[in-house]
């Protein structure tokens, strides 16, 4: 009985709310839109900005997550850990316009910024920071999950063999966390690719300079070039599929090894 109920609601809702919107993009793809988009230099600069900024943001997210996971493993009772843990998931819960505004106030051009005038706003650097802000928590979660799966005995033995916690972390824990590091990077990268609100508020939407794929699609819809928006959107879908495939293949490889 309960099995039939699940059959009855799962597939229709999944098809209607997940598959149909993606299909809607693909079926609206037309030749003219593709031709116009692939010769648009701003499309390619937005692709370049997106990939470059997402890679750097995910790399930064991974570096900070490595630090957080260290505290999670060795200093759970410390004030630093408790404070970081409190703030860690906040960027996920915040509306991303709020994240963008917060970054603008902290690092923006106005003197009310926390650090005063940094000149960071509306640059590619701002795009990277905005992407990092919204993607860091995903990388941190992946790494925490990785360290939680470590056999405690491995760490205990390394300590008795003369390593302090930092040495254990870099020489034993991180080399054994390949899958978590890979997942953390890919998750942060894919989240960065999809970010729009925080990026547009802090980095702006300057074609050729700070415009990313998400803001390119938004701009094209806004000016009525729907066919170009659809082409760029399908490109995004293809890029996301590629990343998810990498994630699946990577996890499969680590599972085998």
């Amino acid at each position: 009985m309960s099995k039939n109920i699940i059959h009855a609601f799962f597939l229709p809702l999944f098809l209607l709310l997940i598959v149909l919107p993606i299909l809607a993009l693909v079926v609206n793809l037309d030749k003219e839109g593709i031709q116009k988009t692939i010769i648009d230099p701003f499309f390619w600069s937005s692709v370049k900005n997106t990939i470059l900024a997402a890679i750097l943001a995910a790399g930064l997210a991974l570096v900070v997550s490595i630090g957080f996971a260290y505290y999670h493993l060795f200093h759970k009772q410390s004030l630093v850990y408790k404070m970081a843990n409190l703030f860690n998931d906040l960027p996920i819960a915040l509306p991303h316009t709020v994240a963008g505004l917060a970054l603008l106030l902290a690092f923006g051009r106005k003197t009310m910024g926390f650090l005063g005038e940094t000149g960071a706003a509306f640059t590619l650097f701002a795009v990277i920071i905005a992407m990092f802000f919204v993607s860091y928590a995903l990388a941190a979660r992946a790494l925490i999950s990785g360290v939680d799966q470590m056999e405690p005995e491995v760490i205990d033995v390394a300590r008795t063999l003369g390593d302090n916690p930092v040495q254990v972390y870099f020489k034993v824990v991180l080399p054994l966390m390949g899958e978590a590091l890979f997942s953390g990077f890919v998750l942060a990268f894919s989240r960065s690719l999809s970010e729009f609100a925080a990026v547009i508020m802090f980095g702006g939407n300057l074609p050729g300079r700070t415009q990313v794929l998400a803001s390119y699609v938004f701009t094209k819809v806004e000016v009525g070039d729907l066919d170009m928006a659809v082409t760029a959107a399908v490109f995004c879908v293809a890029l996301s599929c590629l990343i998810l495939s990498m994630l699946i293949v990577g996890r499969h490889r680590y599972a085998k090894s």
């Binding site: 056999e151 033995v157 008795t160 003369g162």
Partner: protein, 226 residues
């Protein structure tokens, strides 16, 4: 030499160790107790992995309570081999001795030879059988030449045939290098094969006994503190 006195530990309301004492000279002492009786916690306190609530630990006459595990010069062989999977067997063995590799070359050859590891040193941990993993684990703990060795049921996951094959090899190497060993087990046969002296642990207390049989009688007949 190891001396632990008045060791107490509780987790919440549960008392794990209650005034536990032990002394160990150049001998292999089996610490025998039921599962969940506090044996592993006791070893981890001696190793500095777990913090005691009360009590003192001396190694070679020096109080080490405030020292982290990496400064206690203790060898630790846990229940599972816990080999570093990203390193070869040889790299695992040399992990703790890497800082004075030349000085310990002879010792390295002696230990690996007695433990029969020469043929498998280039293999990765996942290519080794359970018996060889435990041999590598022991060699790795011995190479830094610790003052004492703690072994926490190192063969518990293996069948009796493998244990009977590996135990004499373990005893041979430990006697050869004359290191004090505290060997935790709940298997009477294993204790008899390995140890020179015996202690029984029950409900967080330790009592010296003359034989493994007496230790098992003590822990099986008591349903409360010794």
């Amino acid at each position: 030499m190891l001396k632990a006195e008045g060791i107490c530990k509780r987790y919440g309301n549960q008392i794990v160790l209650q005034q536990a004492n032990i002394e160990l000279d150049s001998e292999i002492k089996a610490l025998i107790g039921i599962n969940g009786g506090g044996k592993s916690t006791f070893l981890k306190i001696i190793a500095g992995i777990v913090r005691e609530d009360q009590g003192k630990v001396y190694i070679n006459g020096r109080q080490v309570n405030n020292l982290p595990p990496e400064q206690r010069k203790i060898g630790y062989v846990p229940q599972y081999p816990a080999l570093f999977q990203h390193l070869s067997a040889e790299e695992n063995v040399l992990y703790g001795a890497r800082k004075n590799r030349e000085a310990s070359q002879d010792f390295y050859e002696q230990v690996t030879s007695i433990l029969g590891l020469t043929e498998v040193l280039r293999k990765r941990p996942h290519e080794l059988s359970g018996g060889y993993k435990s041999r590598v684990s022991l060699a790795r703990a011995l190479l830094p030449q610790p003052h004492i060795l703690l072994m926490d049921e190192p063969l518990s996951g293996m069948d009796i045939i493998i244990r009977k094959k590996v135990l004499p090899v373990f005893r041979q190497v430990l006697k050869k290098i004359q290191i004090p060993v505290l060997y935790v087990t709940h298997d009477p046969e294993e204790a008899e094969l390995m140890a020179d002296s015996y202690a029984a642990m029950n409900y967080g207390e330790i009592r010296l006994v003359v034989s493994a049989a007496e230790a098992f009688e003590a822990i099986q007949n008591r349903h409360g503190p010794l």
